[in-house]
Amino acid sequence: SQKIEQNSEALNIQEGKTATLTCNYTNYSPAYLQWYRQDPGRGPVFLLLIRENEKEKRKERLKVTFDTTLKQSLFHITASQPADSATYLCASLSSNTGKLIFGQGTTLQVKP
């Protein structure tokens, strides 16, 4: 079945460092990948979208890459701040159902 997998282990980094989160997909080739941020007790908020023909996308301190050979997207936050602490979700469109499927998210903790 089509699946999105993210590292379920929390990522702890020091303020000012670059955080890198990984999203792997299996059994399909999504036309695009989306990244969302979710704070505790809140709904996800859309951050970025990258299409399969784009290698890299940037928005302020955020950078997303899409490697169709590795079937992987990397999400980077440069100069991380404690306010960046949240769970980050990867999502893509299932070619089977036409609906978004989400990974379970990776929790980022940025320590001051």
Partner: protein
């Protein structure tokens, strides 16, 4: 700024009660969705609607039902709540005009069934 609202934010209720979770959006989006999310787990789609009078079940089987009588309103109903229904319920809407299905989420309803 996304304008999608859910009420109540928190609900604690006894087994067997009927409940309705409200969801409204002011963006005029045709597509709306209900997801269920347990702590540390992925979102699972339980219902969706592509417009007024259109509702479909999602990937995760759910005993809940939905209705879409108005574009802006997409309530979810549980006829008889059970402890297994305890979860976070998230409503979302999307605009496909960009072709990429960016979804806007409400704040969620955390349901606890005793």
């Amino acid at each position: 700024e996304a304008d999608i609202y859910q009420t109540p934010r928190y609900l604690v209720i006894g087994t067997g009660k009927k409940i309705t979770l409200e969801c409204s959006q002011t963006m005029g989006h045709d597509k709306m969705y209900w997801y269920q999310q347990d702590p540390g787990m992925e979102l699972h789609l339980i219902h969706y609607s592509y417009g007024v009078n259109s509702t479909e079940k999602g990937d995760l089987s759910s005993e809940s039902t939905v209705s879409r009588i108005r574009t802006e309103h997409f309530p979810l109903t549980l006829e008889s709540a059970r402890p297994s229904h305890t979860s976070q319920y998230l409503c979302a809407s999307s605009d496909w005009t960009s072709g990429y299905n960016e979804q806007f989420f409400g704040p969620g309803t955390r349901l606890t069934v005793l």
